[in-house]
């Protein structure tokens, strides 16, 4: 039966043709095609991975941005608070200092007035003393013209010295 009897020539040519096909297609078709398919798949895979990573990074970035903003806000608030405190303190200090200065000036003025007053009083006393002496000298000059009276007066002075 020819149908199920493999022909020798056909086996020969088929083997030759099939070997030729396997080698030619293997070298010029399957190798580049499979390589390209693999390359494409890896590139798609990488691209997807990269996109995921980018998304993750974006999330991270957004988060950190927010955090940064929050921190900046906090810092600003803290700075403002600090500044306010400093201002208050400075004002307070200035007020205290001003008060002190004022009282110091008043004190100094009082002291100086006192001094001046004392000086003026001393001057006045001296003046009065000098005038009194001059007056006394005139009186004495007049009264001691009489020798008796002179004697009397000396006696009186001696008495006075004795008491001292």
């Amino acid at each position: 039966m020819e149908l199920i009897t493999p022909g020798l020539g056909l086996i020969f040519w088929m083997t030759l043709a099939f070997l030729f096909l396997v080698f030619v297609l293997g070298k010029f078709a399957w190798k580049p095609i499979l390589q390209m398919l693999k390359e494409r798949e890896t590139s798609i895979h990488e691209a997807l991975n990269a996109a995921n990573q980018a998304r993750e990074e974006m999330k991270q970035l957004k988060f950190s941005n927010e955090q940064l903003l929050q921190e900046a806000k906090n810092e600003r608030d803290a700075l403002l608070n600090e500044a306010r405190k400093v201002r208050d303190r400075l004002l307070e200090e200035a007020r205290i200092k001003a008060g002190e200065e004022a009282s110091r000036i008043v004190e100094a003025a009082k002291a100086s007035i006192n001094n001046e007053k004392m000086a003026a009083m001393t001057e006045l006393k001296n003046q009065i003393a000098e005038s009194s002496l001059t007056l006394a000298k005139f009186i004495l000059k007049r009264e001691l013209t009489d020798p008796r009276k002179q004697e009397e007066y000396v006696q009186e002075l001696i008495k006075e010295i004795k008491f001292n």
Partner: protein, 386 residues
């Protein structure tokens, strides 16, 4: 780019020159046409009394007509226009007694069907075979055999489909290198799903991620060779129509390739499992090595089944379609009206069968490739480490 671009015209030239070369091996193609190809049918009846184109020998013989269409031939009958037979004669290459004889198959178109002492048998068990003239039925003992290496119809069909495969896939490969980072287009996008299907669903799943790459060239070539030739077999006129994958020699060669690759790649585990099959009672292996024998027979039956399955499926499909055609002529011989009536159903069933065959063309290519891959997987599987 330039390097790959330069060999395409060369490849096209090669294809054309090969096809024409095969045809021109017949030294006198033109004169052959005068002699035989365009002879009136009545003359050809006179010249080949045994050669029945079904109706040529008077009574229509369905079995003979179907067989003639299914088996190989030394010439390619293209068409019959009116009383003219349009036949492509093919080169005959014979090795006899250490000598090579080449001539055109149209040389056999004479009364004795013989040329240079060789005879093309017209009937009997060797019908269609070339034998030494004068000893056709009972070869003389000790006389050298005739080895027929002719470019027959099926060989020519194999060569043409091979070149088409090369053209198609080399151009697809070029498309891949050209559109490196682009989406596939045209032929590339048509064939890419098939290539990926074979890689992922056949090779990777049967052989495994690690070892499948080595077998890809064979698996892809087998798949597309079988698939393309199955489809060409469905085309009823010239470039197609040859029953390539329904020829046992073709499927034999494919199965032998699977067998050789399986055997070469079989690892220690594979052979140990054959000699000492695990999970089988010891008395099946010793003293009578029943299981080893069964396993060794199994090595042979696996590719044998591959061979038979593809051959039988494709040939059966062709026979059924031809059977439906025969019905028209059988009934037409009884009565022309019945013939016309039957033709309606016959044609309807033929269309149905052809659609079914389209499916079978893919399924058989798939099954052959899948089973080959499974056998490779069995041969290369690593023992499980517990």
């Amino acid at each position: 780019m330039t390097a790959s671009g330069s060999y395409m015209p060369a490849l096209r030239f090669l294809t054309l020159s090969l096809i024409f070369g095969v045809l021109l091996v017949c030294r006198s193609f033109a004169s052959v046409q005068d002699q035989t190809s365009l002879v009136p049918a009545s003359d050809s009846v006179f010249e080949h009394p045994g050669k029945s184109e079904g109706h040529a020998s008077g009574k229509f013989n369905a079995g003979e007509m179907i067989m003639e269409h299914v088996v190989d031939n030394h010439e390619w009958h293209v068409a019959e226009i009116g009383s003219m037979h349009l036949t492509i004669p093919l080169p005959v290459i014979l090795l006899y007694d250490g000598k090579l004889f080449t001539f055109c198959s149209s040389r056999f178109h004479n009364e004795a069907h013989s040329y240079m002492g060789f005879k093309l048998e017209q009937e009997g068990p060797h019908k269609g075979k070339i034998v030494r003239a004068g000893q056709d039925e009972h070869p003389v003992a000790g006389s050298p055999a005739v080895y027929d290496f002719s470019i027959t119809k099926i060989v020519l069909a194999i060569l043409m489909s091979s070149l088409l495969l090369v053209l198609v896939f080399v151009s697809v490969a070029r498309a891949y290198t050209r559109n490196r980072d682009k989406a596939p287009s045209g032929l590339q996008s048509l064939l890419e799903p098939l290539i990926i299907f074979i890689r992922d669903d056949i090779a990777k799943s049967s052989i495994g991620e690690k070892k499948y790459e080595k077998f890809m060239p064979f698996l892809l070539t087998v798949f597309f060779f079988v698939f393309f030739n199955n489809l060409f077999g469905l085309i009823p006129f010239f470039p197609g129509g040859a029953n390539v994958t329904g020829n046992i020699a073709v499927t034999l060669v494919l199965a032998v390739f699977t067998f050789i690759i399986t055997t070469i790649n079989g690892n220690k585990h594979y052979w140990v499992d054959i000699i000492n099959t695990p999970g089988v009672p010891w008395w099946l292996k010793f003293p009578v090595p029943l299981m080893p024998v069964v396993e060794i027979i199994g090595i042979i039956t696996k590719p044998f089944v591959l061979m038979i399955r593809l051959f039988a499926n494709i040939t059966a499909g062709h026979i059924i379609v031809l059977g439906f055609i025969s019905l028209i002529f059988i009934f037409g011989e009884m009565n022309a009206a019945i013939g016309y009536g039957v033709s309606v159903f016959s044609v309807a069933f033929m269309i149905f069968m052809n659609l079914l065959e389209l499916l079978v063309a893919f399924i058989q290519a798939y099954v052959f490739t899948l089973l080959s891959a499974l056998y490779f997987g069995l041969a290369t599987i690593e023992p499980e480490h517990h």
